[in-house]
């Protein structure tokens, strides 16, 4: 249970809300060009080639995390099927596909002050011109790593390793206190 590790209740403040997002199926995909094309086919979604960009189709998303690395998000129930589809589509193509559904989980941070709260512990520039909707990247928050994906102008999807989640949650809450959290 998620609650074995971290509180899951949402935190509200004036202009910003932190919530725990539902469970996702997650696959870490690594591979070279040929494999990428095949994986896109199997996943039903073209893996973005542009740095730090995410693509969405239906219940699935592919986040570029590195030049040969994508985080694939899907419904938990779809994971096995995607693994199976990839196994046949990628046969003979060197690649790595690892189930990391449970390695991390997702927080949602939204509201007009969401970027301000993120800026409490993250040195990236969240201006929409430099961090547009659809941008995703691994980065850091305080003393922990996380991945941030801007899904709407005032909404961020945050991926964080399981054991770091209480820290990230606490860190964000600390920066939401002045707004009433």
């Amino acid at each position: 249970m998620l609650s074995d590790i971290v509180e899951t209740t949402a935190i509200d403040a004036d202009g910003v809300r932190l919530e725990t997002l539902p469970a996702f199926g997650r696959l870490n995909f690594r591979g070279r060009a040929g494999a990428v094309a095949a994986m896109s086919e199997a996943f039903g979604l073209a893996l973005p080639e542009a740095s730090c960009r995410a693509a969405i189709a239906g219940s699935r998303a592919a986040l570029w995390l590195g030049p040969d690395e994508w985080l694939l998000l899907m419904l938990p129930t779809e994971t096995d099927a995607v693994i199976a589809a990839a196994a046949s589509a990628l046969a003979g193509l060197p690649h790595s596909l690892v189930d990391i559904s449970e390695r991390q989980y997702a927080l949602g941070l939204s509201g007009r002050l969401a970027a301000t709260v993120l800026a409490g512990g993250n040195p990236l520039d969240f201006d929409l011109s430099t961090f547009p909707v659809g941008m995703c990247t691994r980065t850091i928050m305080g003393k922990a790593e996380l991945a941030i994906w801007r899904t709407e102008p005032d909404r961020f999807h945050i991926e964080v390793w399981r054991s770091f989640a209480p820290y990230i949650r606490g860190f964000l809450r600390e920066h939401m206190r002045e707004f009433g959290a």
């Binding site: 249970m1 998620l2 074995d4 590790i5 469970a23 870490n28 690594r30 591979g31 070279r32 040969d68 060197p94 690649h95 790595s96 596909l97 690892v98 189930d99 990391i100 559904s101 449970e102 390695r103 991390q104 301000t116 800026a119 409490g120 512990g121 993250n122 040195p123 990236l124 520039d125 201006d127 430099t130 305080g142 003393k143 922990a144 390793w161 399981r162 054991s163 770091f164 209480p166 820290y167 606490g170 860190f171 600390e174 920066h175 206190r177 002045e178 009433g180």
Partner: protein, 1018 residues
Amino acid sequence: MPDSLAPNLSVAAVNEPFRTRSGGRIDRAKPLSFSFDGQTYSGVAGDTLASALLAHGVHLMGRSFKYHRPRGVMTAGSDEPNALVTVSRDAGRTAPNLRATQVELYEGLSAISQNRFPSLQFDVGGINDHFAALLPAGFYYKTFMWPRSFWDRVYEPVIRASAGLGKVPTAPDPDRYLQRNAHCEVLVIGAGPAGLTAALAAAESGLRVILCDEQSELGGSLLADTTSMIAGKPARVWLTETLAELATFSNVTLLPRTTGFGYYPHNHVGLVERVTDHLASPDSAQPRERMWQVRAKEVVLATGAFERPLTFPENDRPGIMLADAATTFVNRYGVKPGKRAVIAAANDSGYRAALALAEAGVEIAMIADLRRNPSGSGYDAARRAGLSIETGKTIAGTSGKMRVDGASIASVGEDGKVWNTQDIGCDLLLMAGGWTPTLHLYSQSLSKLKWDDAIQAYVPGAVAASQALRAAGAASGAYGLDAALSTGFKAGAEAAVAAGGDGVTTRVFVTISAEADASTFLGAMPHNRDANRVRAFVDFQNDSTAKDLKLAVREGFRSVEHAKRYTTTGMATDQGKTSNMPMLGVMAQAQGKTIPEIGFTTFRPPFTPTTFGNFAGAARGDLFDPIRRTAIHHWAEGQGAVFEDVGQWKRARYFPRQGEDMHAAVARECKAVRSALGIFDASTLGKIEVVGPDAAEFMNRMYINPWTKLGVGRCRYGVMLREDGFVYDDGVVGRIAEDRFHVTTTTGGAASVLNMMEDYLQTEWPGLNVWLTSATEQWAVIALQGPKAREVLAPFVEGIDLSPAAFPHMAIAEGRICGVKTRLFRVSFTGELGFEINVPPSAARRVWEALYAEGRKHSITPYGTETMHVLRAEKGFIIVGQETDGTATPDDVGLTWAIGKAKKDFVGKRSLARPGMTDPKRKQLVGLLSVDNRTVLEEGAQIVADPKQPKPMTVLGHVTSSYMSAALGHPIALALVEAGRSRMGETLQVLVPGKGSVAVKLVSPVFYDAEGASLDAV
């Protein structure tokens, strides 16, 4: 603050004798009460502590560092060296060393003076002043050496007690501090006229602009300017309108009470915003202070200039202050700093102060100008006003104890000769020594300063590589309101263009204002007194004088850095804001050189002292460092587990029952595992999934072991070296598929092992088709160990045949347990039949509890890391970081067997062939048994042949692990001993400091079940 021009006459504070009847940016309708040294005073909203005390005629606010001389407020801002106070809300909310000139008054503020005993008026430390002749610069280097033991026992404690300023708070600070990262195209530091127009220009480009200023209000010099007109309006009206205009820009962030304190590489600038210190009842949801870390494309420094004090004898008495400070007190705070003033002027600022004071009703006894032929708009106005002006005058001394009561004015000839001393009574003596552009941040950026002879000041020079900044207004050496407005706007516009903005409109600011004046005097002012006796202070807080600096030069400290360190000039809490230039002046005089020949000292962050809490920000308590907990943590907590920190992880160390200490608990846990069943949370072990057709080849290169022939479904204990040949990490590796390995690492090594693997893969072997994915948190790991392990586990497992033949020791299989996926390892770090059950963390607790419930039949016992350590030591298994310490080779710890002998290369192999690594005298892993069969050795204890030898002893080795073995009924230990494997059976001595030594016998490190019979317990 009231901004209207209407005189604010309603409630003149009747009990504030030095308060003007009108004017200033204070609100006389809002009285405040506060206390200083226990006495209650009144003030008004808009006051600083300094202005409110001055309103009562209180100048004496502090004592100096060395001589404990009485000192009054000298400035009106962040350059204040004297008026340092401790402000306290409660025991934890107590801040020493605050400048009274920067402390904003609030209802109930409580401040005390510092560095005095028993009181500010009567300070016994003042005795130092009488012995000043014995205490020149650096006196302490020349004495206090005899007898030798007296330095730290006698002299130093006395010196330490008399030094220091305020006291440390007696309770932890409960307030919060936060940081915020910010990005902008143009950061403007300083919101005086230059900063305001810079921000306006940049704002019009549409780029993001941050404008900050250390003061409570934006406006800088305009806040005290009652005479200038800008664009046909009084300066304060223009200020109000300009701030309103700036506020209309959504791309502009205005930050008052925010100091730019540090300029770091790549245009990274630190600001600190004081959020609540000025409030009577701060909201605890607000941070007390906030550190802004700004990454700016371009920075405009509009930081103004500091006025220079003059260096004349006894220039430090309370009531002696900078001319511009007096102007500020009168014009901004509505406070007269005295009744009768003498003004020592080397700059027009003295005249402007005299005019402002005179208008407020202060008697101007004399303006004594050092210059023979002064000029300037202030001078002209003062003459028109009929003020008493004398030129060619120096100050030969002052009188008064707790307050200046007179000045000796003397004539000075062109040849420097001084005569005709005249004593004039006064309770206020102003110093107008000219100006120093404030370039601390400029210098911190590593940009160069250059000497400008025309204004006798350092001004901005070449900008440092990969920094982008410019100065404007007085900070750039462009003095006067006209220049401030125009250079500010130009700098803001240029910064915007450099930051990628469009060209901006030009604006012209027509002013009626005082002429700029760069006149100054640097160095000790001439006088006709005994130069060996009088003291003209240069660094007021640290009590260094012109005489001290001359002594330093005489003793060879010619470099300005040497003189600074020898005399401590410029090292006080104002960091030389008032003393640096006077120091250079005196040193230049003493060496007959020019100031640029003397050089200058480096400016270092912070610009003004910056609260530690800001740097820590949110990193306190639980947020100091992430606390990583496993999925089983709360269960273990419920069982009363005692945890230990292993890196960021919390691990259960042991599970004491009622009345048990650690030893008792561990003995019980050990017995349970050996006799029946134990359950252990191994989730923190690092896991890396190595996947790809070249996975085995990659493993061959990274680990000392051979991997090619490891069958799918089998595991192997792997050892990894650094390239220098020393053991780096270890762990069990399972082959899930031909192209897929499940690698485990130590808990602490997980991240660094992955980094090292990536390093080789990406940079040395990029052609290998293999990828690495951390799976540490994908799997929780439940270790089930003991003879009953299979029996308890079996009912829950689907799809894996657990029979010994089908699933032998060192096997791995994928299947399901309790309905969820598992990677099941049959491995043992205890020597017993054992399984490590990898399950998704979300299901881990459920699986754990199911196994635990089933295991109750066999008295299943949860055990912690301590028991794990004992059990593995009984088997002679090493722990990386305990048996190895970064200096052990595989052979040292008995792992030569693991090396793939046929492999031509692996990381670290070549290093193992170096002579130092093959030396037969290297320390080797052995077991130790206490000859008395009962002494548990201390870990880390040293092993010698002869405990009676003199020190330093020849040490043969040390104990790496030591435990009481419950299974064996006697203590066991592992040790690294010089050539240990050739010493089997020998007896050596383990030193027990203070108690002699314990005889130990060297034995095999495998103490328990050397044949491995227990692994296959049925």
